[in-house]
Amino acid sequence: MFRFIAWRLIQLPVILLVIFGVTFTLAWLLPGNPLENPDKPVKPQIAEAMLKQYNLDSPWSFLRSYSVNVLTKGDLGPSLVYEDQTVNQIIGSGLPVSVQVGITALILALIIGVGTGLISAMKPGSLWDMSSLGIAVIGISLPTFVTASVLMIIFAGMLKWLPVQGWDSWEHMVLPSLALCAMPGAYIARLTRMGLADVMQSDFIRTARAKGLSKNKALIKHAMKVAFLPVLSFLGPASAATMTGSFVVEKVFNLPGLGVHFVDAVRNKDQFLILGVVLVFSTMLVLMNLLVDVAYAWVDPRIELVK
């Protein structure tokens, strides 16, 4: 186990480096170097700050000076659009918001998803089973901006239980988390339900039943553990995606999170911000996948991590 984690931790910077390289190339496919963007001339104070820090003779020399800055000082550079903020400050203020909403949404999705999946599997074909599967399909089929807007209208607009937009207290977190958890929650419910249906047919469950365990007990004590594996592997990428923020939810509820920058940075051709945001996202994704793999081995000891 320790060898495995160590091996993966060694791989981590390599993967990040490659991802960084790809993003760098893509970001530079957008016209020119940051100072020569014809649509939006860069503000003079930003240009000055950039020239002081970076060597802009060619993409290569820039890449070198940028990497040195990131590695030695952890400095992700200035933003080309937000003139009084550095990329570090933007990420520093946006990430906590996104992570808070993301974690809440993820926990909600897990509770709701596994719960409904389990109850559906206990009584297959029942009214509960059908309706929860139906709701799950709707959850997958409706765009998040529709779910989010409808939630906002009902709970903030008509019932006035919760605030409409903004980010001040815990009440502001409820609706965004609910909207964000709809899609992963629906997936988890389906995965749990299908996984359980498959596992309940396997031999070890038959043995457990033959020993006299009731169906529900066999379901929870034995089948759950195996059926949870697909959910677990879904959680890796899903958690990174929800935690770095869903741009749609953040846009609808006007949250000061990180998700907005994923889209706006590219549209504004703010190359430093693109690179910074991708670095944060990829690091989280790689770490989450590592966590999931470790959890996998813990739940299912048959899996060999190192061959």
Partner: protein
Amino acid sequence: MEPILSTLPQRRSRWRLNTGMLGAVLLLGIALPCLLSLPWSLKLYDAQDYTLINTAPGSTFWMGSDGLGRSLGWRCLLGGAISLGIGISAAIISVGIGVTWGTVAGYAGGRIDALMMRIVDVLFGLPYILLVVLLDLALSPFVEHVAKWMMPDTWAVQLSQLLTLLIAIGGVSWLTLARVIRGQVLSLREQPFIEAARACGVGRVRTFWYHLLPNLVGPIVVYATLTIPNAILQESFLSFLGIGVQAPMPSWGNLASEGTEQLASIGLTGSFTRWWLLVWPCVLLGLTLMGLNFVGDALRDKLDPRSRKSHR
């Protein structure tokens, strides 16, 4: 007392079959009108009547009209054709790339396999939406240039926007398929019948076409049907952010996102006055995606070798 072997999937398969049929009927019921009405909807989608703005569904406009006096019915029909078109073309692109990538990796094995799969890993590591937007922006001048060379300028601009969009969406959604196909090829490669083909002196290309590909049809069909709803959903997100299908062209995505703007009226007036602008596109979008998901799931149960074991 209930029997020990009371099995879930028996009931499940009956329910699956029904949903599969239901999905297919839903899809046909929505897709056919959208496609068959194209000759009319292409002419009428931006016909404006300023005397009849924001009229409720009724005898003049059977789905109501929008703030510019355009018939929402025609816009929904054309929007459906565009959304479905994007979904299907993006699925074709992603199947093309995914199957090629997966088979080459699985068939070649060794270092080439490792390298190709690491590339997939890296692309998985990039934020999906950022990749789409980047691709969209980076490709659009190029595609527009090519389109202008091939047809009159007025068409070229609109068509190249659609083309870039679906290339961008298709170009990022082949990753899962590549992984699945590669896994399939890896296990098929070791099967006796492939070995027998090789022993008979069958070439690699022929082996692929006649022996490997028929065995891959199952997962390909399944993932293709599941890619279509995802692509349509991606387009709707992009439309919501203002980078999807551009006005005045409609798609379900941008119709729905225009509709969400109407929700603000509830906060102000307390009643949802122009409900039709949000409800129709959402219902159509939701039902189509539901139909596609149902069909995809039903096909997966039938065709995907990994879930076949549950139908013993």
